[in-house]
Amino acid sequence: MPDRDSPLRDAQRSAGANGHVPVQTPPIIDPNPEVTMPDEPVDELSVELRAGGVAETAPGHLVGSAQPLGVDVSGPGPVSTAPAPSGSTPKRPGDRIFSALASGSGLFIVVLVVLVGAFLLWKAIPAIGDDKTNFLTSRIWSVGDRANSFGIAGLLWTTVLISVFAMVVAVPIAVGIALFVTHYAPARLAKPVAAVIDLLAAIPSIIYGIWGIAILAPHLTGVQNGLSSGLGWIPLFKHHNNAVGTVFDGGVVLAIMILPIITSISREVFQRTPRQNIEAALALGSTRWEMIQLAVLPYGRPGVVSGAMLGLGRALGETIAITIIVSTAGNGAPFDASLFGKGNTFASQIATGGDALFAHPGPFIAAGLVLFVLTFLVNAAARAVVNRKTVS
């Protein structure tokens, strides 16, 4: 945080130059033996503060004393010699404890995430080794006392298909809403409108699940049949006789669920479109839509892309809504590219593991690891897009 430190450092330096401390402080007065101990992370702020001649005295005490600050100081000798930028820095016990707690918490998070990855990896590798079939290309999931054949091909396809479908449905609508909020809705309405969309994010996914299968899915049957009768020659829209519980149903509900994430990120970048760009476009005689094409969309594209990726990451890991809505396909069912088929995602396969999960956790852990890596890659890509934007 250099921008924060520098003015303070300057101020302290000049305070040190005023010579409050050096005169009044005896060279060796500090009884704390820790003072001489070299501190590993040298804290610039406290170094400078020491140099400025302020010490452990409570603030109330300071205010109460009529004497100049320097008199009250029982500061350590060594520091008073120079405003040393590094070297042996005395630290108050309170500071040391607090800083240890704070960095301990940071470290805890690092260890935790490493542990999650390492543990999954450690448990998944032997399980994959014991697999009786090809882990990557098989569509079978037979886990039990007698069978140990499992492959992720089917899970991977359903997971990716349903998430990408949800993203494709959600992104245009989300961008439309974001533009509506930032550039169309009257200023008075913009905030409530945004809050209403955020409400969608507050609804728990299990409620989306039960609503999706009980209420929405029957209404989507007609849409499915329409699409498959018109576009049935495309494998993606191949006709199936599934009324409800299809990948399509799950994808539509997922699209609703990820809509608020994509909207809020797009909204944020659209809001930050430079005023000059907007006004320049308008001054050239653009209509509002042309202004959006010229100024807002090019500026906001990276934000929309990263929002879409974050939404995709969320969709990949969604568990309960998919478990409830999408029916399970038969074990080892042949490959089916259609949106109107059934299937299991990684998450729903793990969630419905039941007794097999307890008796033979290995295959499920392997599936969990693949899901972990998948969401990690998608989220990392989203962040990379954002970072590239801020750099250029």
């Binding site: 400025g52 918490s105 940071g106 805890f108 998070i109 209509t287």
Partner: protein
Amino acid sequence: MTLAAETPTTAFASNLRARRTKNNIATVVMTGCFLVALVPLIWLLWTVISRGWRVMVHADWFSQDQRLTQDWRTPGGGALHAIIGTLEQVLVCSLISVPVGVLAAVYLVEYGTGKLRSAVTFMVDILTGVPSIVAALFIYLIFIIEFGAGFAGIYVSLALVLLMIPVIVRTTEEMLKLVPNELREASYALGVPKWKTIAKIVLPTAFSGILTGIVLGVARVAGETAPALILVQYSASRNSNLLHGNQASLPLFIYSQFPNYANVGSKENAFTHVKEVTNNYAAGRMWAAALTLILLIALLNLVARLISRRSKVSN
């Protein structure tokens, strides 16, 4: 010649008309997008409220469990067991996540330098994207498989910790960054130690913002189902012991009623021996539990909004 002079004007006029039309279409489409998004929201809320309120307003709902009413043909019972479970699991989760999350954010903003700082930022980013089922699987692996512990609510809390920490770190970090540096500098200039500056000046200034983040984090994990699905089993009776035994929570209660929500059937009357069509009470309970969960989360969001209104710092 006159023709040549006219052409640009008419071209311009028709061009302008086309542009205006395009602009109007765009306006309609944008507004339409918003209205389209309203449809599922209103539809869902209407479904849950209209189907759930009748069961929820019954006095038993907040004072009884489902011990005697497990069958979908039996009316009555309440959600007390699930409410207790949800509150306990979320409370314990918060007790762990809040200190860790807030302190980690303090580290990132006030102390962090070098490699550890970027490592923490990176790991929090990863944690933000960890699917809830993976977090649950990790806890399952450690406690239930490795340590051989039985199912219990506490493990749900631990899995929720993984999901709540990133929310709290992110919001707290944002809020701490908004605290003006002048406050810190004024405090240092008065000789206040750094830790006291953080504890007495920085954190109190950002307090309402941090609290908002915490409440939103609680709202986020209160509706999580995936951890409860594999780490604890549903119990129809009240169990307030987080450390032992099956425990219900609101999402799990919803899920337990779900398989029967569409059942229709008949039952022989015990006295007249006549088959009578029975009502399905599981559906009502399912929607009522969903409504209770939504109301709980709405309440938390409302609290968050009220707190953030009193915030001393804002962007």
